[in-house]
């Protein structure tokens, strides 16, 4: 209890954490709000109102089909969160399991894991994501898969590194001596102790995943229209750059703020949880 209180106290004074948390609240809050309310229908077409500048009824103006840009950005937050969160959860689930397994088993498992991580890291991520989306077909689900694949080795490596250190610790040795099996030790002793690393890494990966989702949907490989997604909005906006340049500003700003929030939150968490954490940033 008091540990949490101390943490909360320190967190409140940590600038980066505070800004990050605020931005994340704004981001998640917008997505949540858009489930119940948007100023206009995000998919309501009104050709007579196309490419309108900002006004009292359309705060951020309208797009090429006369749809309200603000509403689309709000709903776009759902897409970003859904794709990002799923991709990270999936990648983390598989990656943590593999990393923990490698640390517990060592030997060929460890070797195979590090070879295959090397392999995935050696590929240009964007290119492979495009290929994967081309093989599976363009959809939000397949964007999740393409992004998740790159999260697996990240979490596997981080988990393996942290877990290996844990296996050398006395209390783990004691547990081994007492005859506890590797699975039990991993679940009871190792994972709880590497959780903080994973939380921080997950925050950063969430940010990276949102960037990746934007990139894929910019290339037409993410969520399918008319479902709003920020990357796709940017793609459309580029066509109208001479008529309505502001269309290219808002979705990009939304992406940047969401990613910024998560990055700052991640940095803050790292400072608060363990300033010595070594993290990976793979984009």
């Amino acid at each position: 209890m008091s540990a949490i209180a101390t943490f909360a106290g320190r967190a409140r004074r940590h600038g980066s954490f505070r800004i990050g948390a605020l931005l994340l609240l704004l981001f998640a809050g917008t997505a949540l709000l858009s489930l119940f309310w948007t100023p206009h229908g995000a998919e309501t077409v009104a050709m007579r109102l196309r490419l309108q500048p900002a006004s009292a009824t359309h705060w951020l103006g309208t797009d090429h089909l006369g749809r309200d840009v603000l509403s689309r950005i709000m709903v776009g937050a759902q897409t970003s969160i859904a794709v990002g969160l799923l991709a990270v959860t999936l990648g983390m689930g598989v990656g943590v399991a593999l990393g923990a397994w490698a640390a517990a088993r060592r030997g060929w498992v460890d070797e195979a894991l590090s070879r295959s991580s090397d392999l995935i890291f050696a590929f240009p991520a964007v290119l492979i994501a495009i290929l994967i989306a081309s093989v599976l077909g363009a959809s939000a689900t397949n964007a999740v898969l393409a992004i998740a694949i790159f999260n697996v080795p990240v979490f596997a490596r981080v988990t393996r590194g942290a877990a290996l250190a844990m296996w050398g610790r006395d209390f783990v040795r004691a547990a081994t001596a007492m005859g506890q099996g590797p699975l039990r030790i991993t679940l009871r002793h190792i994972l709880p102790n590497v959780a903080s690393v994973l939380i921080v890494q997950a925050t950063i990966q969430f940010a990276v995943a949102i960037l990746a989702e934007a990139g894929l949907s910019y290339l037409g490989l993410g969520a399918q229209p008319p479902i709003p997604s920020w990357g796709r909005m940017l793609r459309d906006a580029q066509t109208y750059i001479f008529q309505s340049p502001e269309l290219a500003i808002w979705p990009g700003l939304a992406i940047a703020l969401a990613v910024l929030g998560l990055n700052m939150l991640g940095d803050g968490l790292r400072d608060l949880l363990d300033p010595r954490l070594r993290l990976m940033r793979v984009g």
Partner: protein, 498 residues
């Protein structure tokens, strides 16, 4: 044929390179060269090896010639053949070939060469993309050096047109194998060099029979995929013309610049909401008619910034055999819902709309979701790359609805084909089309074509949306560019600077 419209007629034109910025000398020098912007790059440069329209745009009438040629009005005029006669039974064509024509490498053109080239089109082992246009040929005979006869299995009122297309380019047996990379033809321009992904350069051919008629010495085709980059290339003077400008939403920007002429012309491209007639519930004509009643063409054309002409059947409005059928199914939501109820789906249904990666399809796709949504048809969009569209939609017919432009001229025959991707199977239409093909009296054929259009409109085979406009942009001083696009060709033989 839809595949080529990804490589749609891109026009070509020329512009003075940074005219005015250089002195008078540069100006004078610039008057014999032109830089033509195209949005799609041709893969190979041989129309007998690949179906891409961009190949024909660059090579047809510039590098290669055919026996006849399609002129700017869509009419057929002499090409490598000076004249021809057709036997009374419509089955024997005798071509009188031009004498003294040379290929760019100096080799002579004669009837034997023509026979070689035409034999390749319909041969059993032919890999020519348009082979199906030429399968009515029974035999080809080189009677003497300048006389060629072609014997058909049955009369074909489109044969002269087909043999005049870029697909029937007359190639020399020696250069045919390498024409994909280094094309050699009889036309006014010869291939000089290519930078893949960037540009192709042609120069005036010294071997051409009438060099005085050709005013340009250097022609550069430059590939600029993105619409806003096309505008920039024009504004910066890097490109003199985009004969087939692809971004209607940016035309305003160009109209504001008085250096350019923006010329609207016609194309042979009908944009369709292509419908899988073989699949439930689209096999029910009432469902297709309901969709037709729900389509708001005015809104669709507005999203093309107003460029496009509404159509009510599969036929170009500028053709003299056209009948206006756009009022067959007026916009009427109540009527559409009633038809759906009659068809047994009063509450609508869910369906997918698979879209190819072209601007008009993307724009119209989102509108279609909204328009059909009003009568309870819930569409979900799936964006496909062209190869996927070709395999999944076109070949495997694994789709409900798609949006695509059919850009060939005289392409009504698709509705008479068995196993075509629309799954339309009408004995009535097939009989009508057979009549069209066999009727060599063109006035009579026009009447039959009108009947054919009416059958398609009545059956609401596809959603007939609009006829694509050709938006040509060129420097005002550039003369002789084609306003219309009767066939994929950026014919430069008559182009010059004022």
């Amino acid at each position: 044929m839809p595949a080529s419209n990804r490589r749609q007629f891109l026009g070509a034109s020329t512009a003075l390179i940074a005219a005015g910025a250089f002195g008078p000398a540069a100006w004078a020098q610039a008057r014999d060269r032109v830089v033509i912007g195209m949005s799609l790059e041709p893969p190979v440069l041989d129309p007998t090896k690949n179906a891409a329209a961009a190949i024909r745009e660059i090579t047809y009438q510039n590098i290669y010639e055919s026996l006849g040629r399609i002129d700017r009005t869509g009419g057929i005029v002499p090409g490598l053949a000076e004249s021809w006669t057709i036997s009374p039974d419509g089955k024997t064509y005798t071509f009188k070939l031009r004498a003294g024509v040379k290929y760019h490498d100096g080799k002579p053109f004669n009837a034997a060469v023509a026979k070689f080239s035409i034999d390749r089109l319909y041969a059993a082992d032919s890999t020519v993309p348009a082979k199906s246009l030429y399968t009515d040929i029974e035999s080809v005979t080189a009677v003497d050096a300048t006389t060629l006869t072609i014997q058909l299995k049955n009369p074909n009122s489109y044969f002269l047109y087909s043999i005049s297309l870029g697909d029937a380019a007359i190639q020399h047996p020696d250069s045919a194998p390498t024409n994909d990379k280094t094309p050699i033809g009889t036309g006014p321009f010869m291939f000089k060099e290519r930078r893949e992904g960037d540009s192709i350069q042609l120069v005036k051919a010294p071997t051409f029979r009438d060099p005085g008629a050709i005013k340009l010495n250097t022609v550069t085709f430059k590939f600029v995929k993105d619409a806003s980059a096309q505008v920039n290339a024009l504004l910066a003077g890097d490109v003199d013309t985009f004969p087939g400008f692809q971004a209607p939403e940016l035309v305003d920007r160009l109209r504001r610049d008085n250096r350019f002429a923006v010329v609207l012309g016609s194309t042979e491209g009908e944009v369709l909401l292509a419908t899988n007639n073989g699949k439930k519930p689209f096999d029910n004509p009432k469902v297709r008619q309901a969709i037709a009643h729900a389509i708001d063409r005015a809104e669709l054309i507005a999203s093309e910034s107003g460029f496009g002409t509404p159509i009510g059947s599969h036929f170009p409005p500028h053709n003299k055999a056209y009948v206006d059928l756009t009022k067959t199914y007026p916009l009427d939501i109540a009527k559409a819902k009633a038809l759906l109820a009659e068809a047994g789906v009063p509450n609508g249904f869910e369906a997918t709309l698979k879209l190819p990666p072209v601007g008009y399809a993307q724009r119209a796709g989102e509108l279609m979701v909204s328009q059909l949504g009003k009568i309870g048809i819930k569409l979900s969009i799936v964006q496909l790359q062209w190869p996927q569209w070709l395999s999944e939609v076109f070949r495997e017919r694994n789709y409900d609805l798609t949006i695509v432009a059919h850009t060939e001229a005289n392409d009504l025959d698709r509705y008479a084909r068995d196993g075509y991707y629309w799954g339309y199977d009408s004995a009535e239409f097939k009989a009508k089309w057979r009549e069209v093909v066999l009727t060599t009296d063109f006035a009579k054929r026009d009447d039959l074509l009108k009947d054919a259009q009416r059958i398609l409109a009545r059956d609401a085979v596809n959603g007939f949306l609009w006829q694509l406009a050709k938006i040509g942009v060129w420097r005002k001083e550039l003369v002789g560019m084609w306003e219309n696009s009767p066939t994929p060709s950026i014919d430069l033989s008559g182009v010059h600077w004022r």
